[in-house]
Symmetry: C2
Subunit: 424 residues, 2 copies
Amino acid sequence: MIAEILSVGTELLMGQVLNTNAQFLSRRLAALGVTVRHQTVVGDNGQRLREACRTALERADVVITTGGLGPTLDDITKRVVAELAGQALVLRPEAEEMVREQLAKRGCPVTEACLAQAMFTPDSLLLDNPNGTAPGAIVPMGGGRVVIHLPGPPEEMKPMFRDQVEPWLQERSGRVLVSRYLRIFGMGEAAVDARLRDLEEGGNPTLSPYCSLGEVQLRATAAADTEAEALALLEPLLAEIRARLGDVVYDVREDEDGGLAVSCVAALRRRGWTVATCESLTGGLIAATLVEVPGASEVVRGGLVTYQSVAKTLLADVPPELIERCDVVSAEVACAMAEGARRKLGVDIAVSATGLAGPGGGTPERPVGTVFLGLSTAGGTRAIPLHLTGNRARIRTLTMKHALNAVRCEAEGRSGAAEEKRLN
Amino acid sequence: MIAEILSVGTELLMGQVLNTNAQFLSRRLAALGVTVRHQTVVGDNGQRLREACRTALERADVVITTGGLGPTLDDITKRVVAELAGQALVLRPEAEEMVREQLAKRGCPVTEACLAQAMFTPDSLLLDNPNGTAPGAIVPMGGGRVVIHLPGPPEEMKPMFRDQVEPWLQERSGRVLVSRYLRIFGMGEAAVDARLRDLEEGGNPTLSPYCSLGEVQLRATAAADTEAEALALLEPLLAEIRARLGDVVYDVREDEDGGLAVSCVAALRRRGWTVATCESLTGGLIAATLVEVPGASEVVRGGLVTYQSVAKTLLADVPPELIERCDVVSAEVACAMAEGARRKLGVDIAVSATGLAGPGGGTPERPVGTVFLGLSTAGGTRAIPLHLTGNRARIRTLTMKHALNAVRCEAEGRSGAAEEKRLN
């Protein structure tokens, strides 16, 4: 099955909005085994939309539009597609019900313009929109092809696609697809790729890497007639990946959620530990990222942001002589910061970070990117040196990720030495 | 002048990479007065790239490609375009120089594959790439049309476009375009739009809104024969916008940088104030955002992350009885947190935030989204209540932005009462 993504909206062509919809849809379609060969963006212009849609239908089985379903005059997507289908838009009572329900929920009056959102071709399969007023639809275009209309706002589009379009596509393909997502930290994309290249070339299951700063995520997808058969195909592959990559695989999930903070909070919870932070160059980023995880309040007690040197002394009791003697960016100061935070907040584990994020301030002995983490528990305190590269934002984000990973490893009782090595 | 953006890369079609390049280019081109009618994405496939490029050249004067300039076999963009131009790729000595210099800087060996990056058609205008090994080029395609090749990685593409392509486009248009960027906080997109609609319809200068969470940015662009004439067109428009919107316009700049944190740090610096934070629901986000601003270390002393209630007492000396009596989400506790942080860190101003980010924990009296900021200076301490809506991430981000704005207003000595009203 071949799909094309057709995003509609002048705001995209003006660069006013980032097209995250195209990435989301491409990613989900890839996991469904659907091939995407083109993504196209056009504005709210009838003629150009018609041309783009006609071209897309010549080269794809499924054309997915986002945007242009709303009540204003420049919302023309449905009309243009209905014309191509040779059908008229009619007021569909089920759709009218949906629109009225959403308007009532929002306390908005029912206007004629609003009801235009309930107009579809007679044979369109309607898609409910629990997060907005414009329903979507799957529109038959003849010859087995369809156009799928989705709303533009991502918070409306994503659940509609996931909950209603994905099951429809799955059913249509006649195959069951099962995916697992592996999360990796501490090994770069190239190294992961070098170790798994032969596995990535297999036809079923497929294996695709997705990278973000310092992290690699692998999607493994198997297609079969039943879920059990698909899982039976997946399991040996997952075991092989784990055998080849080792401990850097920190999570294997059925969904794309998760991340270092989620795994860190989960590890702390399993261990029954509370955590605190003491942050210099990250300025609160480690704590703020932990707190993003729902349920973090059970384990995250709080933290200290010790940005200026004097704050390290005022808040974490780091002796000024120590800072003077060892430099503020040093293993000794990182340890003192972690110990201070653990004591002040009375937690089981504290993590600290001090370093040079740049752009200025580097010296030959301590170049920009020199960072020390401190890790303090009842069992002792130690520093983890990091040698990072890149700009200010990159160095701070990587420091945060290394800190979360270090806390996770410690809470899991894993060998610190091995981790320290890998962390660099 | 009409431009089309053609992004090349199978990783985009798989959703492995978010196409931020298309937004960046669209935005910059809009500011240059260049119309973009299509954005297209194709994979590393010769036939489909050829078709997409041919189609683009039929409808645009300038086709901008991103990606596919590297040394690997699937980097085919230049070859496909050279074929369409009816020319051969030849090793261009100036380009070879560029490639060798970048390889030497990175300590990489000079291989034949690497030198493929120096192959261009004989009449291509070369574009230097100070941040990567692949040079770009402006390729004449006949009939006054050009294809502009840019590298895929944004950190290489953006400076190349800004520093080399923009001046070329400006010169070609024969007009001088001058833009100013107005940053707005405390008034929604719809309200801004309602007040400025007639101004947005003017032909020269043009006025375009760009929105992000809780903020509106306006770009005003004037075209004229000289910079002075363009500025003379812009100035009355800027004055009119300020008159209509008032204090919510917090910055007017020549570039797109800036933001609430930048303005907040600048205001603190002008006032000669140091700042500290005390954060509950934001968990360090306010401090971390301040610290993103280069030079923040002069004014940002540090902060307290008081996530669990006990941390509010341990770190900010908030009396447990006060929390018990008033609730942890209350004006009283927000004030006590701000006072505690100001005292502990010995700063001129401290800001605190306590609130319900959800999803759970709401009551009829204190629904999710109830937030109190505390603001403490030598002149006194007061609370600012916020009633926010949306999910956890949204509520926390909006809280952070309101806090930065409150500190900025206070440092600027503006009337608190007016701000408080607007903040809600």
